[in-house]
Symmetry: C2
Subunit: 231 residues, 2 copies
């Protein structure tokens, strides 16, 4: 089965954050399908107040990737300290924590080589959470379509410290917000089952805190802790 035949449920269950990419461009046809898919997402009153600014290899794109690369490296350095990546199990090379740390280190060190970086933009309308309903569904469509076509990416927010610099460089109008930074490429590693907390903790029925009895993880589901790896 080619990955583009993946069923929706299989695709959803195996679309993980992918941070390490092969040094290969994404062909135009595939990129077009990925962005077409993104734009099929819903927006408030179908206003379609979303835009997708793609950084590939143009002059401003190279510069924007360099600005982002710096910001991602600073962001990771700070997070490594604040989340204690080098402590506890992080001191053991083969712990999940140490493996995640190496993957993120590779990601930020190679950011400038990311084949495509998509900046999803949304018109600031209500100025809060609810504006996200008109852009993050599209981000998820984009990641799922990339998965279907053999690519991977990750939804990140480390553009925020350099947002004003990027806005000037890329001529982004004042009323549009950069909602995320999504790097995309062909994975160096593999996709695999997404792991989460058990459904009994996440899905309630009739009242907050009452687990929905019908919500059961499929046999063989593996779980993970919530949040950054802990010591």
């Amino acid at each position: 089965m080619s990955s583009s035949d993946l069923s929706i449920l299989q695709g959803i269950a195996t679309t993980r954050a992918i941070r390490r990419y092969r040094d290969e461009p994404i062909p135009a046809d595939d990129l077009s399908k990925i962005l077409f898919s993104a734009s099929r997402a819903p927006t408030g009153s179908n206003r379609q107040n979303f835009r997708f600014l793609c950084l590939v290899d143009g002059p401003r794109s190279e510069r924007a990737k360099a600005i982002l690369g710096q910001s991602f490296r600073s962001g990771w350095a700070a997070k490594q300290r604040s989340d204690g990546y080098g402590k506890g199990s992080g001191e053991r090379d083969e712990s999940p924590k140490a493996r995640l740390a190496r993957s993120i280190q590779f990601f930020v060190d190679n950011f400038e080589k990311t084949p495509v970086v998509v900046l999803p933009l949304v018109l600031e309308r209500h100025g809060g959470l609810v504006d996200g309903a008109s852009i993050y569904p599209a981000c998820q469509n984009l990641l799922l379509a990339a998965r279907a076509l053999g690519y991977g990416g990750v939804l990140t927010g480390w553009h925020r410290p350099v947002e004003s610099e990027l806005r000037a460089l890329l001529e982004i109008p004042d009323d549009y917000v950069i909602a995320a930074t999504i790097p995309l490429g062909k994975p160096l590693g593999n996709h695999g089952p997404v792991r989460r907390r058990p459904l009994a903790e996440l899905v309630f029925e009739d009242c907050w805190g009452h687990p929905a009895e019908w919500a059961t993880d499929p046999a063989g589901t593996e779980f993970t802790q919530a949040g950054p790896p802990q010591a």
Copy 2:
């Protein structure tokens, strides 16, 4: 091909807002798969600060659906006036505008009979747009998984006028926000191709306003205007 074999790209291209449902419950197995899919979505630092409160047929659910039904009917009455649904082409029975108005009228009139209403909740962390990155991707997964299994739904925001009443009834903690209201059921009508503006308006490369040349709508794509139907 059963709808659960739909490919990701086909599913994404045909997941439309579904507002009219058959008077049939959603079997537990299907509902479980839909919520499992929702919870596979990414969240900031994988904190999984999302919860899904499902209103089915419990005592508080019935009451919450009634509160929401009132709010949806008021919301639609106001929108009908503000967006001029009864004017211009809306006066012709078979115009898209009149059809959409009838569909929404049916939706709000029958809200209490909606088989399942999901309230996606997210921990308020940054207090703005970015919190949406930890809940709206899950909402899109939920809608896509529903589509795959033969159901449909719509991402709505008409709970907002009654949010405090719902919070008290459903014992939602102060630090969690109701991000949307998603009714779900078996469609009375059909799914079909999602229509949007041409990609040249939505997808830019290298700089704001520069259409990405490689971004092309597939042959036969039909377009729609952005926003509520106009006169």
